[in-house]
């Protein structure tokens, strides 16, 4: 227990991932959904960094770096779209966005 190994970090990452899944499934406000997505991405970053550290390999950190970059641009575009939708319909609740029904 005292000795922190790779397993600890992976379990932590999984836990955070599960919380992220809960958020994704539970939230109906689109903005809150984005928050949950951020959580997912972060949990994965932890896993990458941990593996990189314990296997002495830079590839993990590089990957985490690019994940951060991607997440940032995703937020930008996502929020932009959300703004357009809000201007058009005035509502960002998931329950109202059912035009893809059937």
């Amino acid at each position: 227990m005292m000795e922190i190994g790779l397993t600890h970090y992976l379990v932590l990452s999984t836990l955070l991932f599960g919380i992220g899944l809960v958020g994704v499934m539970r939230r109906t406000n689109l903005l809150m959904l984005f928050f949950a997505t951020e959580i997912l991405l972060n949990s994965v970053n932890i896993a990458f960094a941990a593996i990189s550290h314990y296997y002495n390999d830079f590839a993990g950190q590089m990957f985490a770096f690019f994940v951060i970059a991607i997440a940032a641009s995703e937020v930008a575009v996502g929020l932009g779209l959300l703004i357009v939708w809000y201007k058009r319909t005035g509502n960002i609740d998931l329950m109202t966005m059912t035009s893809m029904k059937g």
Binding site: M25, L94, M95, M97, S99, M100, K101, G102
Partner: protein, 635 residues
């Protein structure tokens, strides 16, 4: 020579197809003329083949093509023209051609004129296949074909419910007997390895008696259905619902004789099992008397003639059963001529009487219909077996056969039947053509049929008269394939007593018939109440018996089966469809357009894949765990 075989075989088919082109159109004369002409060519080809065979030519075998060649089973479409089949071919084509020409006049005002000739020619084609085939399978094809065409023709006026009912009765009854025939065929194939006549019959002496008996019985049951022997007889009388030319062709000359043909063809088999032959002969004698008794009192002209056919078929089977195959075939030939003539004449009378069939309502038609009267009288004389017409040579020969073979009971039965035959035939003639005029008060003014119809019937009349003189030539020709037994009564005195006695008996019957019916005829109400009369008139109540004990239970069984079919089979199929539909409806909820739901389903999918990955990666470990925990698995 093969060319003539093909012409004879396929001309009726071409005629049928030609007429079928006009099936739905209004009547066109060509639809009648072309099939008749083609049938005439078939007749000419058959004659050429007859001449060829008679002058000692070789038997012609052709194999058109292979039908089935699977494993050890080899069935070709093969045809043979030997002495027996050429006799049958002549009978079939002669009567068919005459009936075709007659029908052009008879069906003159009928809407289904074109359709009629198509069916009629198709029938002739099937019959030709039946008689010309050289294996049991081809015979069966023809067998079923004539059954089908008979159904089509009996139910020709399909708007009449009684006609369709009779057609179904005929077909179904035939079908039931065909099952037995199929079993017989299977037995033949099973025991001899082939369905070809020559090979199968060659292999039969090596089989044991029990097998042969079963084989013979089953094949004979099939013949019973086609030739309307008891108990498969009720359809023949009801088949008179069809047009009269149909009755003339099918139910006098050709289809019903297919059973006799089968027995004659299978003579090597029946020679080996004389007990079955005796049974056949006994049954034939019984049917002869049975049918004649019903004809004594009947009030329907065509039915009387139908019962007469049934009776004469019994005669043929007596001959075949007692081993006198050539005699049976000879009687078949002679009978075809005069019975067809009788039917055609009856058709004329029917037309003249505006489809009235009760002889009690006719009378003194001889004044207006001289030609028909002469021809029908000639036919009846031939039927009664008076010397020197055809019937004497064939029918009395059968009586001789019975006597010579020491089957005195059969002989007596046939003798009595001969008397009854003469009686009812001339009862009919007397009531229709002589006596007092009972039809004018009903407003019917009869006229003779078209001239060309009478001209068409004339050859039959001539043949009915002279066919007896063919006996010697026929005997010489046909005994090359059939057993050549000559039936001589050793004592000349006995022979002359028999012959003259039979003739006297028959003449007395005719005289009695004329005395009773050739003058003022009144319906005898007292007689109609007598129980014996009623039994005869109602055909011994056999149709009612069949209806109550066979048809009704079967109908109930069918209804029950229908319930089962609905509740089980349909329910199963609908159930499967319902499950799929229900699954679709249930999973439709997945597509509600809601992103939240979709995300949840995404997580479910993720979960499934994770489980699969874990299980798959650890398959070996899991298997070990399972086999240690549950000792029964694996190992």
């Amino acid at each position: 020579m093969e060319m003539y075989l093909y012409i004879a075989l396929f001309s009726p088919l071409v005629g049928s197809m030609f007429a079928a082109l006009f099936g739905a159109n209004k009547k066109t004369l060509w639809a009648g003329l072309i099939p008749s002409a083609l049938l005439f060519t078939s007749f000419v080809s058959s004659t050429i083949l007859l001449v060829h065979i008679m002058s000692g030519g070789d038997v012609i075998h052709v194999e058109l093509m292979t039908w089935m060649a699977t494993g050890n089973l080899y069935i070709p479409f093969g045809f043979v023209v030997d002495q027996v089949s050429v006799t049958m071919m002549m009978v079939v084509t002669t009567v068919s051609t005459i009936v075709h020409i007659y029908s052009i006049g008879y069906m003159d005002h009928d809407k289904g004129f074109n359709r009629f000739f198509s069916y009629l020619s198709a029938f002739v084609f099937s019959m030709m296949i039946l008689v010309m085939s050289d294996n049991f399978a081809g015979l069966f094809i023809g067998w079923e074909g004539v059954g089908l065409c008979s159904w089509l023709l009996i139910g020709f006026w399909y708007h009449k419910e009684v006609a369709t009912w009779s057609a179904n009765e005929a077909f179904i009854m035939n079908r039931v007997a065909d099952l037995a025939m199929l079993i017989g065929m299977f037995l033949v194939y099973w025991n001899t390895g082939t369905l070809q006549y020559d090979e199968a019959f060659a292999a039969m002496p090596a089989l044991d008696n029990h097998t042969l008996t079963i084989m013979g019985i089953f094949l004979f049951i099939g013949a019973m259905g086609k030739s309307a022997q008891f108990p498969f007889h009720t359809w023949l009388a009801d088949a008179m619902e069809g047009p009269t030319p149909v009755s003339a062709l099918i139910h006098a000359a050709t289809m019903v004789t297919a059973g006799v043909y089968l027995v004659v063809r299978a003579n090597p088999l029946y020679d080996l099992i004389p007990d079955v032959g005796l049974f056949i002969a006994s049954l034939g004698a019984f049917v002869a008397m049975y049918a004649a008794s019903m004809a004594l009192v009947n009030r329907d002209m065509k039915r009387i003639i139908a019962y007469s056919t049934l009776s004469q078929l019994g005669y043929m089977f007596v001959a075949a059963g007692l081993g006198a195959y050539w005699v049976a075939l000879f009687h078949l030939m002679a009978h075809a001529f005069f019975k067809a003539l009788l039917f055609l004449g009856a058709g004329n009378v029917m037309h003249a009487m505006h489809d009235e069939l009760d002889p009690f309502k006719m009378g003194n038609l001889g004044k207006a219909m001289k030609g028909t009267m002469i021809m029908m009288t000639l036919a009846s004389v031939a039927l009664a077996g008076i010397y020197p017409l055809a019937g004497f040579f064939s029918k009395d020969l059968i009586l001789e056969v019975g006597f010579v073979e020491h089957h005195y009971i059969i002989y007596t039965v046939l003798l009595l039947t001969a008397g009854m035959t003469a009686f009812y035939s001339f009862r009919l003639i007397a009531m229709v053509f002589h006596g007092n005029d009972r039809h004018s008060e009903l407003g019917i003014h009869p006229h003779e049929a078209y001239k060309f119809m009478l001209v068409a019937m004339a050859p039959l009349a001539i043949l009915a008269v002279i066919a007896g003189s063919f006996k010697a030539y026929y005997y010489e020709m046909v005994t090359q394939v059939l057993p050549a037994t000559e039936y001589h009564i050793h004592s000349a005195t006995t022979f002359w007593i028999m012959t003259i006695g039979t003739q006297l008996f028959v003449l007395l019957s005719i005289a009695y018939a004329y005395k009773k019916y050739a003058r003022v005829v009144k319906e005898d109400a007292a007689m109609a109440q007598k129980p014996f009369y009623k039994v005869l008139l109602n055909q011994y109540y056999i149709p009612e018996f069949y209806e109550t004990f066979l048809t009704q239970p079967y109908r109930e069984l069918s209804k029950m089966m229908w319930q089962i079919d609905m509740k089980i089979v349909d329910a199963t199929v609908d159930g499967i469809a319902g499950i799929i539909y229900g699954t679709g409806k249930a999973t439709h909820k997945m597509q509600d357009g809601n992103l939240s739901t979709m995300l949840k389903w995404m997580v479910v999918g993720l979960l499934v894949m994770l489980i699969l990955a874990a299980v798959y990666a650890n398959a070996g470990i899991i298997w070990n765990m399972a086999t240690t925990l549950v000792p029964g698995l694996g190992a």
